[in-house]
C-alpha cells in the first residue's frame, strides 16, 4: 500500500480527537503515582535514615537549639528529588509518603520544597519534683512556684506537688533553705541486653546512630545511652529478641 | 576544369585533417593545418582556370580592339589564393611560436601530456 496511513488519516479527521483538554478538564494522577512528597514531622523520630538512603541527597536536616529542646526541620527539595521513594520504604515510622500531586511547577524553585520541623524537648521533660525528708515545711517553695503547683500544710506537715502543672522551672529548688527539693528522673527506659545474646552484632550494624558496640571475641555488649535515640530498630533486628527498653 | 585538380585538393584536405586529428606531436598538427591550407589553395586556383586562356596581363589597347583575340584565365581566384597563402603562412608562424613557448613551458609537445585544462 503506497500510503499506509491514508485511510487512518481520513478516518481520524471525522472522529473526535483524543486530546484531553488539560487545563479545563482536571487530570488526576493514577493511584499510587509518586508525586509531591508529604512529611509528617510528628511521626518522625529524627533517625536520619531517609537522608542516608536518598541518592540525590535531596533531604536536608537542620537542628537548631530552641529553648525547650532542639528544633529539627527536615527539608525535602522536590527540584532535586528523583521520586524513587526509597526514603518512604526506609522510614521506620512511615513519616514520609508520596502524594499524587504532580503540579510541581513554580516560578520560584524555593516553594517546591516540603519542609517539616519538630521541637524535641531535652531529657528533663518527664522528670518529677520530689521533696527530701529534711523538709521543715517553711512553705517558701509554694509561695515562689509561678504555677502554684506546690501545696504545703504546716499543720499536718504534708507537702505535695501537682506534676501536670509543674513546668520544672527549678525556682523552688533554689529557694528551699534546706535544699531538700530535687528533680528525679523517673527510672528511664534504657536499652538493655538480655543474657541469651549471641553477640551477632546485627543490632550494632543497624543502629543509625552506631550507639551499640559489640565485641564478639570477649563477648562484650555495651550501649552509649546518650547517643541512643530509642528508635527501636535494633530491637526489631535482634534475632534472639533479647534487647528491650527498661 | 581539370578534374584531377579537384581530386588532389580534396585528397590533400582530408590528409591534412587526418594528420591534425590523429598525430600527437604538435608540430605535426601544425603541418597538418598547412596541408589543409594548401589543399584549399590548390582548389581555389584550379577554380579560375579556363583551358587555353593566357595570363590576364594586357595593355589597354588590347582590350579596345575587340576581346576575341585574347582569352584570359579568371584573375579573381588567383588574387584569393594570394591572400589565402599569406594567411596560411601567418597561421603556421603563430602556431609554431605557440609550440616553441609550450615546449619551453612543458618540455614536451605531445598532445597527451599537455592537458591541463579539462573537465
Amino acid at each position: 500500500m503506497m500510503f499506509p496511513y491514508l485511510p487512518l488519516a481520513i478516518r481520524n479527521f471525522f472522529t473526535r480527537p483524543s486530546t484531553v483538554q488539560f487545563p479545563k478538564v482536571p487530570v488526576e494522577a493514577k493511584k499510587n503515582y509518586r508525586g509531591w512528597l508529604a512529611y509528617d514531622p510528628e511521626k518522625c523520630v529524627n533517625c536520619g535514615m531517609c537522608i542516608k538512603v536518598c541518592s540525590p541527597s535531596a533531604i536536608t536536616r537542620t537542628v537548631e537549639p530552641v529553648e525547650g529542646g532542639e528544633k529539627i526541620t527536615y527539608e525535602f527539595n522536590m527540584t532535586s528529588c528523583t521520586f524513587c521513594a526509597t526514603c518512604v520504604d526506609f522510614c521506620s515510622t512511615k513519616a514520609i509518603h508520596m502524594t499524587e500531586n504532580y503540579h510541581m511547577v513554580s516560578e520560584d524553585p524555593k516553594d517546591l520544597v516540603t519542609v517539616g520541623s519538630r521541637i524535641k524537648e531535652t531529657k528533663n521533660k518527664n522528670k518529677k519534683l520530689t521533696c527530701g525528708d529534711a523538709c521543715v515545711f517553711c512553705t517558701l517553695c509554694a509561695k515562689n512556684c509561678p504555677e502554684e503547683a506546690i501545696t504545703v500544710d504546716r499543720a499536718e506537715k504534708k507537702w505535695e506537688v501537682d506534676h501536670s502543672a509543674c513546668v520544672k522551672c527549678g525556682i523552688c529548688v533554689e529557694k528551699c533553705p534546706k535544699k531538700c527539693l530535687s528533680f528525679e528522673e523517673p527510672a528511664e527506659e534504657k536499652l538493655t541486653c538480655g543474657d541469651d545474646c549471641v553477640f551477632c552484632t546485627l543490632c550494632a550494624k543497624n543502629c543509625p546512630q552506631d550507639a551499640i558496640t559489640v565485641d564478639r571475641a570477649e563477648k562484650k555488649w555495651e550501649v552509649d545511652h546518650s547517643a541512643c535515640v530509642k528508635c527501636g530498630i535494633c530491637v526489631d533486628k535482634c534475632p534472639k529478641k533479647c534487647l528491650s527498653f527498661q | 576544369m581539370i578534374i584531377i585538380n579537384f581530386v588532389v585538393s580534396v585528397l590533400l584536405i582530408f590528409l591534412g585533417l587526418y594528420c591534425v586529428c590523429t598525430r600527437k606531436n604538435f608540430i605535426k598538427i601544425v603541418m597538418g593545418l598547412g596541408i589543409v591550407d594548401y589543399g584549399v589553395n590548390l582548389f581555389i586556383v584550379s577554380v579560375g582556370f579556363n583551358d587555353g586562356g593566357t595570363a590576364p596581363i594586357y595593355a589597354l589597347s588590347d582590350l579596345t580592339n575587340g576581346a576575341a583575340s585574347h582569352f584570359f584565365v579568371d584573375p579573381v581566384p588567383q588574387a584569393l589564393t594570394l591572400t589565402s597563402i599569406v594567411i596560411g603562412a601567418c597561421v603556421q608562424a603563430m602556431a609554431l611560436s605557440f609550440v616553441i613557448m609550450l615546449y619551453k613551458r612543458y618540455q614536451t609537445i605531445n598532445a597527451d601530456e599537455i592537458r591541463g585544462l579539462h573537465g
Binding site: - | I13, G16, L17, V20, C21, T22, R23, K24, F26, I29, V30, L33, V36, D37, V40, F43, I44, V47, D74, V76, P77, L80, T83, S84, I87, C90, V91, M94, A95, F98, V99, M101, L102, R105, A111, D112, I114, R115, G116, L117, H118, G119
Partner: protein, 636 residues
C-alpha cells in the same frame, strides 16, 4: 549620401589605430591610451550615426571599395553593404569595444607589453566591425581570419598563467580548421556563381541548389558554427575564455561568438535562402537545444568562475541559434534581442569576474567567499547580471527569453511538430539551471563567510567600475524598455534578415528598392513592463509607508556594532552552539541531490572535454561531416 563612407572609415580607422599604437604606444602609457580611445570612440560614434539612416529611414547603405561599381548587374569590386541586420550586430559590438577599452586601461596596467595588447585589441575590433559591415564573402573570410588570430594571441596574452598558452594553441588549431572549411566553401560557391558578392550569390542561387552549392552550404555552416562555438566545437573556447584577461573574455563572449551567429544568419537567410525548408529549421533547433542543455549542465559542475561563465555564454548562444532556427518573425526577433542582451549581461558578468580577479587574485571559487562585505558594488553588479542572465522579470534576459518561448511554442502549435514543444521545455529548464549555477556563484564567491586570508581585499578602482555600472544600467533599461528597443532596432533588423531580395536589389545599385518587400511586425502588448514597474513601485511605496508608520516596536534592529564584536556573542552566526569557526559551504558541494542523479551524465561530459587537441579536432571534423550530411539529405 554622407553616410556611405562611415562604415569604411570606422573599420579602417580601427586598423590604422592598431598600427599607430604599435608605433607610438609602446613607451608611453598615456599616448597609447589616448590613441586607443580615439579610434574606438571614432568607430562607435560612426556606427551609432548610422542608426538614423539605416534603422529609422530604412535605407541600406552600399559602398564599393575603389568605386568599382557593379557592371550590368555583375559585382566586380568588394562592396560594403550595411543593412539593418548588420548594423544591429555592429551597434552592440561597438558599445562592447568602448566598455572593454575603458575597463582594460586600469585592469591591464600591471601587465607588460601593453603596446601589443592594444594592437591586438584594435585588430579584433576592426575585424568584428569589418565582418559586420561587409557585403563580400571573401572579405568576410578575411575578417574571420583576423578575429581568429587576434583572439588566439589575446587568449594567451598572459602566457605565465597556467594553461594560457595551451588554450591559445588549441583555439588557433580549431579556429584555423574552421576557417579552412569556410574558405573551401567560399571557393565552391565561387566555382558555381563566379562572384563573391553575398547579394549576388543569393540572387544566383535562389532557386537552383546544385550538389556543389549544398556542399558549400554544409561547409559554411560548419565553419561559422566553429566561430560561434556551438556544441561540438565549444571545447577549446571554454579554456581560452578562462585564461584570457577579463576585458578580452568580455569581447569574446560579447562579439566574437556573435560574429559566428551573424555569419550563420547571412549564410542561411540571405545567401542560400534555405531557411524556409522544414528540415533546416529542425536541424538548427536541435543544435540549439543540444548546446543549451549540455553547456549549462557542464557549467553547474565547474569550480572556476570564468569557466562557468564561458559555459554559460555557449548555452546562451544555443538559445540564439534555436531562436533563429525557428524562422518565424517573433523567433528571429527574440533571437537577435537575446544576442544583444547576452552581450550586455555576459559582458557585465565577465567584468565582475575580472574585478574579483583584480581584487582577490584568483577566480577559483573554492578559495573565495564572503566578498560582498569587501566589494559591495561589484557584488551588486554581479547580482544584476546574474538575475539578467537567468531571466528574472524586470531584467533584459527575461524579455528575450520570453519572446523565444512564445515563438517556439507558437511554431510548435502551428506546425504540430513535437520538436518545438520539446525545445520550449528544454529552454525553460536550461534557464532555471542557469539561475541555479549563478546562485551557486553568488553564494560561494560573494555571500558566504569571509576567509581570514581574504581580509585585504578592497573594491576595484573607479575606472573599472564605470563599465560595470553602464552594463547593469543597460541590463535594466533593455529589460524594461524593450518595446522601445524593439521598434527602433530589432524590427528593422528582423525584416532585413527576412527580405533577402531587397538586400540584392539595393546592392545592385537601386536604393529605392530599400523599402520594398513585406515588413513583419510583432505585437508584444501581452506583457508591457512599464505596467509592471508601476505596480512594483506602488507596492514598494506602500510597503515603505508600512515600515515607517509602525511605531518602533520592541523589535528594533540590533546592529552588530564593532564594540560587542566577540566572535561568539549574540551576533555570531548560529552554529548549533559551537564556536563559529570558518565553515563556508563551497560551490563544489552544492546541488548534491541534482549532481547525484546526473552523475552518469556528468562522467560522459567530463571525458568529452579531456584537453587533448586531437580529440577537439576530431569533434570538429565529425561535427562538420554530420552537418554536411544532414544538409545533403534534407535540404534538397
Amino acid at each position: 549620401m554622407m553616410y556611405a563612407h562611415f562604415p569604411v572609415i570606422a573599420v579602417m580607422g580601427l586598423f590604422l589605430g592598431a598600427f599607430l599604437v604599435e608605433i607610438f604606444g609602446t613607451k608611453n602609457k598615456y599616448i597609447r591610451n589616448t590613441i586607443v580611445m580615439i579610434f574606438v570612440l571614432l568607430a562607435a560614434v560612426l556606427t551609432f550615426a548610422l542608426i538614423k539612416p539605416v534603422m529609422v529611414n530604412g535605407e541600406i547603405i552600399t559602398y564599393w571599395m575603389g568605386s568599382w561599381e557593379p557592371v550590368e548587374g555583375w559585382a566586380i569590386g568588394i562592396g560594403y553593404e550595411v543593412d539593418a541586420l548588420g548594423l544591429f550586430f555592429g551597434l552592440f559590438c561597438a558599445a562592447t569595444f568602448v566598455l572593454s577599452a575603458i575597463y582594460s586601461f586600469r585592469y591591464m596596467d600591471s601587465d607588460d607589453h601593453l603596446g601589443h595588447y592594444y594592437t591586438l585589441f584594435l585588430m579584433l575590433c576592426g575585424g568584428v566591425l569589418g565582418l559586420v559591415f561587409t557585403g563580400d564573402l571573401f572579405n568576410m573570410f578575411i575578417m574571420v581570419e583576423i578575429i581568429t588570430f587576434a583572439s588566439a594571441a589575446l587568449a594567451a596574452f598572459r602566457n605565465y598563467k597556467f594553461g594560457a598558452l595551451e588554450a591559445g594553441f588549441k583555439y588557433l588549431v580549431i579556429g584555423s580548421v574552421g576557417s579552412s572549411m569556410i574558405l573551401f566553401g567560399v571557393a565552391l560557391i565561387y566555382l558555381q556563381t563566379h562572384t563573391l558578392n553575398i547579394a549576388q550569390i543569393g540572387n544566383e542561387m535562389a532557386g537552383n541548389l546544385t550538389p556543389v552549392t549544398i556542399l558549400a552550404l554544409g561547409l559554411l555552416i560548419m565553419g561559422f558554427s566553429v566561430k560561434a562555438f556551438i556544441f561540438p566545437f565549444h571545447t577549446p573556447v571554454v579554456d581560452s575564455y578562462a585564461t584570457a584577461p577579463a576585458p578580452i573574455s568580455m569581447m569574446f563572449s560579447g562579439t566574437v561568438n556573435k560574429i559566428g551567429v551573424l555569419g550563420l544568419i547571412r549564410v542561411l537567410y540571405q545567401m542560400f535562402r534555405v531557411m524556409d525548408k522544414e528540415a533546416m529549421q529542425m536541424t538548427l533547433v536541435v543544435i540549439g537545444m543540444a548546446t543549451m542543455f549540455i553547456a549549462v549542465t557542464c557549467a553547474l559542475a565547474q569550480h572556476r568562475l570564468k569557466r562557468l561563465l564561458a559555459y554559460h555564454s555557449i548555452s546562451q548562444v544555443g538559445y540564439v541559434i534555436m531562436a533563429i532556427g525557428l524562422a518565424t518573425p517573433l523567433g528571429v526577433t527574440g533571437g537577435l534581442f537575446h544576442a544583444m542582451n547576452h552581450t550586455v549581461f555576459k559582458g557585465l558578468l565577465f567584468l565582475c569576474a575580472g574585478a574579483v580577479f583584480y581584487a582577490a587574485g584568483t577566480t577559483n571559487m573554492d578559495k573565495l567567499g564572503g566578498l560582498s562585505k569587501k566589494m559591495p558594488l561589484t557584488c551588486a553588479c554581479f547580482i544584476v547580471g546574474a538575475f539578467a542572465i537567468s531571466g528574472i522579470p524586470p531584467f533584459n534576459g527575461f524579455a528575450s527569453k520570453w519572446m523565444i518561448y512564445l515563438a517556439a511554442y507558437n511554431k510548435g502549435m502551428e506546425t504540430g511538430n513535437f520538436l518545438y514543444i520539446a525545445a520550449t521545455i528544454v529552454a525553460v529548464v536550461t534557464s532555471v539551471m542557469t539561475l541555479a549555477s549563478f546562485i551557486k556563484v553568488t553564494q560561494t564567491v560573494f555571500f558566504g563567510q569571509l576567509k581570514a586570508t581574504n581580509d585585504y581585499i578592497r573594491d576595484v578602482p573607479l575606472s573599472m567600475r564605470i563599465p560595470m555600472w553602464i552594463g547593469s544600467a543597460l541590463c535594466i533599461f533593455l529589460g524594461v524598455g524593450y518595446n522601445f528597443v524593439n521598434k527602433t532596432i530589432l524590427n528593422p533588423a528582423m525584416n532585413a534578415a527576412f527580405s533577402a531580395e531587397r538586400y540584392f536589389d539595393v546592392m545592385m545599385g537601386d536604393p529605392a528598392a530599400a523599402s520594398a518587400g513585406t515588413n513583419y511586425t510583432i505585437n508584444l502588448s501581452v506583457w508591457n513592463p512599464i505596467l509592471w514597474l508601476v505596480l512594483f513601485a506602488i507596492v514598494f511605496a506602500a510597503v515603505a509607508i508600512a515600515i515607517i508608520t509602525t511605531k518602533k516596536t520592541v523589535g528594533k534592529v540590533m546592529l552588530s556594532g564593532s564594540d560587542n564584536q566577540d566572535p561568539d556573542g549574540k551576533y555570531a552566526v548560529f552554529f548549533s552552539g559551537e564556536r563559529s569557526q570558518y565553515s563556508h559551504v563551497v560551490g563544489s558541494d552544492m546541488f548534491w541531490g541534482f549532481r547525484k542523479n546526473f552523475s552518469k551524465y556528468f562522467d560522459v561530459f567530463h571525458k568529452f572535454h579531456n584537453g587533448n587537441v586531437n580529440d577537439y579536432a576530431t569533434y570538429c571534423v565529425v561535427g562538420g561531416i554530420i552537418i554536411t550530411i544532414i544538409v545533403f539529405i534534407f535540404v534538397r
